[in-house]
Point group: C2
Chain length 282, copies 2
Amino acid sequence: MTLVIRSVDEVRRFISERRSQGKTVGLVPTMGYLHRGHMSLVERCLEENDVTVVSLFVNPIQFGPGEDLDRYPRDEERDLSLLQDAGVDVLFAPEADEMYRPSHSTYVDEAAISFPLCGGSRPGHFRGVCTVVLKLFNVLLPDRAYFGMKDYQQLQVINRMVRDLNVPVEVRPCPIVREADGLALSSRNVYLSEDERRSALFLSKSLSAAKDAFDGGERSAFALADLVWSVLAEGEGLTPEYVEVRDAADLSEVADITGPVVVALAVRAGSTRLIDNVVLGE
Amino acid sequence: MTLVIRSVDEVRRFISERRSQGKTVGLVPTMGYLHRGHMSLVERCLEENDVTVVSLFVNPIQFGPGEDLDRYPRDEERDLSLLQDAGVDVLFAPEADEMYRPSHSTYVDEAAISFPLCGGSRPGHFRGVCTVVLKLFNVLLPDRAYFGMKDYQQLQVINRMVRDLNVPVEVRPCPIVREADGLALSSRNVYLSEDERRSALFLSKSLSAAKDAFDGGERSAFALADLVWSVLAEGEGLTPEYVEVRDAADLSEVADITGPVVVALAVRAGSTRLIDNVVLGE
């Protein structure tokens, strides 16, 4: 039986009671509209913790003007039934005004890893992410929190925040889950028309090409990025926003690849913004 | 016996052991060079918690260029002996590189209450304060933390941060401690020459005058500020930086006083910057 809790005070009481019984707590933060990617995090959280909390909160402050906050897909009933079937203990689903008062004025800023890639086109996005994740950590006091590697930059920004602010939570990254044809699962995939869905396949194809080239010995970041661009160019109606080969940990620029790197990209298919990545050389 | 701990990992082990025994933990964050003001916080912390931790950390990121970071007064031996006599459990005194790695890139920004008063002349100061206080909270996981009301704006910035980020710590404000002649205790008072020390008395005198006027029925913020300015003008060699009458909770501007206000001031006596305040109408 999954308990649905909407109030900070109530979920705090629930968690504090469990913790006083010596139980460990795991958190899977989500914006809902759950897919198998989310559920892989949930499964892992259930395995590794006594109590599993999934948060569902479409965080307004991580959306910029003109972004898709208002049309972000929602289906709490379906989400709840998935979590119920999985055996999740709590769905924490606060309203926006439970998380942010009108006079809210405190933000968490990560100022290095947030800067490149998605940081360029989404100013303020990672500030919103850091702020809400820290709030969720402070409310739910999890021992472990689970983040998908599809949002690779988000994962590394949160790792840095946790390190820098001494946040007492262990961040556990979980691998990207893909459709059989390679498309990385995303709640935003529902926006795609049939044509866009077909073109979107070139995202994972381009990353596979980069991986093959890397495995074949290519160590030039420029050559890999160039290869990704050329494969993306085959996808009709795709508008790449960036393709970057960066240090896998701090997202600093890389020329000759000597350690782990991430090949990360953001692309528009029609009006839908999609991201994907692959880590090489781990 | 006060344990001196310099490492984050070690103090975490100590605290986690005490917490697992069901003990409550109180924190008094300081920059050292302790005086009776600090010790009043320590006494209260000892009374209200099973374990009392005093942190001593001169936080580099809350000092601006040209401020007194390098000459900030330090005497850890004397501080330790005072804490020892008081019965404090732990002195947490990390080096700067234990708190900040070279690649540190995450900061906590409070963007409303930090803005006026000291925020005007000390850009980045409260960002530094919020960041270090949140770090100390995350390392030491106190139930309660004690802050002096002399740093009134700091107290309200921290209250706001704690509220906005759902920090699970209870902030306890403690009254200003003054010398017999009225001078508010401050580690920076050691900088004062004999003449400056004499002039500095006009800070508390000016606030007493404001309080008397308020008690006599004056409800114009402008009139009170004007009165404070006129008393400060009597102190030879004093250069007021600001005198403000503000809402006591959110430091917003006030014209006609209808609720609690703080009369706050910052003044230079020679090259030493002093602050003081009084709360009226509580």
